[in-house]
Subunit: 341 residues, 4 copies
């Protein structure tokens, strides 16, 4: 399908951290015109009044109905996008959803993990899981794109190259470290500066919700059952996720085999970078890059993957997905270079 | 042996982070009199002049010879304590060494990991690895106490309860996160605020030196061969280590078995705390406590252990060891409550 | 008055940051027995369950009535202590109030600044402003001690030595920088880690409430009218306040005169420390010390004062005040040495 | 003068923080071709190898001689640019110097502040102080542009609007707060994470070197003598400077007069932003914007100015200056929107 000269886009949930990221990037996107911002909080005010440092001057609209747009980017709480996606699509819009609502193909699995009834279970099967670097990913015909969570993006990119090449046992350990913005913008005790600073802790030890989509995609890639232990940690920084994956190589597999698999995987993907040493999250801050390192210690592969949780882990991946959906250059409107320090 | 009314103590390497920690704690210890501070850097100045916020007014002496002390706490670079320990002991002092010089019983193993000749290989076998909570640890007759590294303290306390009870396979993954003070006080690019802040990264992926002592002690505990994958990470905080251990339970072992083993292990140890949720490092800052949590995820045990790297991971453990060596209450001079936030 | 062997103390508002600080310090105070903790939030649970790292095992009681205690330390929102102080005093307790309720002698002034009716205006005049280092401060007969705010403590200690000696014009500029815990433990957007980290900003530019008590005390000290410009700033750290005071010396006053005045002022006060260079807040973290530096730049005195906002700026000053009230050593139960780094 | 189609540019001192910032911005500048990177450290390696997250693949050259370039951006230690500027200019290049070497018109004043002989005193008078928003600033004919320091940029933009309008007394107090990257990339104890984090302190109380250029420019603007008290503080953040200026209005001047002066001053300057509340430094991170707020407290004007010290305070201002010098749009290649959070 040929892309229209400039897509008219709406962002729903525009004043959360992921929404803000989407708005700022779309405002600079060469092929998109930002026409509507939806946000219950602050409705009636201008975006630049409520987001420090922004120059986007659109007014924030209450409600979630859109009309006359080609594209809705949704950064909303659980079930809200699921309740509106059908309507948005009926009005002719492609939907890029940043929530978990459409990431699981099976609505019953979704209900088990999220302990809610899914508002539109039939839509789930038609959504496309939009991690463009996954083998076989194709977004060109999708009307409903489910953008992966930040943790799954980092964990999958760390594990899939070895797993899809059949080099490692399907029994994976992923230890992830996230900055605080991954918890969203709502103030809670868990994001209070004084509670978080100068501290690190694990959470979700018995099973974080993001594990569901990781298992779904890992099993597809492995073509069979996969065991995964995934433990997230909160780190005193604003942005960034580092996933450290511990993979047991199959008999006979060497460190060089692993390295070669990651080099091959990264090749041709403009948003992947293979580093000669373990990447620091700061080296990808504000970029849509996932930086990978393939290491080895005494017979176990140790893979690290660093992303900016709000860019490659959310809004940036949304833009990358819409670029692919509409035939634009994959990195249009995206930044690939970090600003050090 | 009966303890003298007040031990006369010297600290060698008094102005590094571990040395400072030792000095401040010894100055408040009810059974110790601090009589000598050795520090090449700043020699001739008073301790309180070079350590902000200190009220310890002793002069810093150059050189490393001591006489007439009952106790030397050494916080020195590799090989320096090893070159002086024999002399200190000959003069009648008990030596509490915070470096890695005497942690490995076998000097040849030491040389392989540290790529240096050991200055006094014969002494290695007579040193006692001073992690008091290790099963069978006995410090009462020791003249040379090798205080474990900060990473090994956290990693061993996370793994040993399950391993020593025979509940898990001897194939361990430990992912550790450390604050920056673990790198010492010397300014390098790797500890520059602007390089470290707002970032997290792995290092030593192919094998950190502290792994040697971990393997030595884990094998003793397991009574056989042990595989360990240990990967340290640098986190933007000053103090604290969190070790997350991923342990594969033996067939038939349940989550309750694991929990019970950790509860039993912690029982009776005043410096261990078993938490109902994964501990934050801030909850042990400035204390000699190791906080543990025994979790479980889909058939794998997930153990977290939080310590203050400069206290339970260094100087505090040194005091705990000397308390046990001289028959004082185990926690004399040590703080057990954190100051929140 | 002779102190009872051990004071029975209650803390009201025990689970806010100031309350926690009071509880932890009182639990270690040699002359106090902590008998009641009052906290609406978490009522029914044990203190150690809701404050990470604590070993204080008392139950949290709802309500604010106390009986049979010698001492109430109150760390409550505006007007709550003012509504209960009369009752607490009637039951025989000395009240140490950490809120602003009794800091202003004139209830009408209080109402202007806090835009509320004062619940017990008559009590205001009988309260004692408890900054022990103020010239003429006497706490021995007080039944109601109003502990200064954190900003006023730092600002007054920076200005009073020069002002009370008549060395500077009564036209003061104080620029203050505070850590985030000064905003309290309630989660708001203003303390969200991601909003606060990697940023500094001014607030209250048109007049922070703490200015009222500063003016009250400065005028007393100066014996006349005083102009003060006070601007607070939020800094990405948990604890600490640094006040930088810009003072215009009277004609003929030299840098040495200023230095001498600060040296004389600090002399004999165990919680004051005069530093040869501008103090870092970290050098007083967790201590009850106010560190001062008296500098000079081209004819203007530049005074810096660093405190821990939760200790010398709140709970620690409360203990210092009760020590003086009951005739204990001024620093009983207080820490004076920082733990570097 | 007509600009060439694409300027050929060299960056000298390319691997320090200011140099890195210049390289990354020039690499994206629409009218510049980056052709040479000079850096003694790391000479022979590629820029992207030594700067994490960069995609600039040029090799780092030793030495400081350039030929065939239209433009040299110099980010070098004191005196190095001063020793080479004449040669660079002789070869036909316009020199944009980020150091202090050419900021003072009078080389003797320079020598007094920097305690060094100036390598090329005669050049000083011909350099142009390149703060484009200063009244009367004209860069179109300059061959040697001295980019202001980060502190002077923030302090001058805070003071000049009121001072140049004659609204305030020429007796100014500026309290500045800076992130750590302002100290440069060389590792020293003063930038060690563990020393800096969770702390704030003043320095240079008796007179920071940047004061010299502030006085020079303030006196030009005021048309007479100016008194300035300037005190910098180190804040635990990577980037950002906040200057808080305390200005005494002349008799009869009102808060509205002050506000109007700042509004008028900002009008038409694309890199200035006048905020309705005091700006947070995070709201300008990575942008070339100086955000201002004009406040008032009991008869004193309180002005805050927030910049990114490496962008508007260094490299970004360098690009802005070269844009004006060569007739490009003032903000070509510069980012004006921050990425929140």
């Amino acid at each position: 399908m040929a892309a229209p000269p400039r897509l008219r886009a709406a962002v729903a949930g525009a004043t959360g951290y992921i929404g803000i990221q989407c708005v700022e990037m779309l405002a600079r996107h060469p092929h998109v015109e930002l026409v509507r911002l939806l946000a219950r909080t602050h409705a009636g005010r201008r975006f630049s009044e409520v987001v420090p440092g922004s120059r986007v001057d659109l007014q924030l609209d209450p409600g979630l109905d859109v009309d006359g747009v080609d594209l809705v980017l949704a950064a909303l709480p659980h079930t809200v996008a699921a309740s509106h996606a059908r309507g948005w699509m009926a009005s002719g819009a492609v939907v890029v959803d940043m929530s978990a609502d459409f990431r699981l193909r099976d609505a019953r699995t979704w209900s088990q993990w999220y302990r809610l009834d899914h508002p539109d279970p039939e839509l789930c099967a038609s959504a496309v899981y939009a991690l463009p670097e996954l083998p076989g990913s194709s977004l060109t015909d999708a009307s409903l794109l489910a953008i992966p969570g930040c943790y799954p993006t980092a964990a999958l990119l760390a594990c899939v190259p070895a797993l899809s090449a059949g080099l490692v046992e399907p029994d994976l350990v992923v230890d992830a470290k996230s900055g605080v913005s991954g918890s969203g913008r709502s103030p809670t005790m868990g994001v209070h500066f004084a509670e978080v600073n100068e501290s690190v802790h694990a959470y979700g030890v018995d099973g974080h919700r993001h594990k569901a989509e990781m298992l779904q995609e890992l099993r597809l890639v492995a073509g069979g059952e996969v065991q995964l232990t995934f433990v997230p940690h909160l780190v005193p920084m604003t942005r960034g996720i580092l996933a450290t994956a511990y993979l047991r190589p199959r008999p006979g597999v060497t460190a060089s085999d692993i390295e070669a698999a990651y080099a091959e995987f990264c090749d041709g993907h403009p948003c992947l970078r293979l580093d000669p040493q373990p990447p620091a999250t700061k080296s990808v801050t504000a970029t849509n890059v996932a930086a990978l390192h393939a290491g080895w210690q005494d017979g176990r592969a140790v893979i690290t993957c660093a992303i900016d949780n709000l860019v490659k882990g959310a809004g940036g991946q949304g833009l990358q997905a819409l670029n692919l959906r509409f035939g634009y250059p994959e990195t249009a409107g995206l930044q690939l270079e970090a600003s050090w320090p």
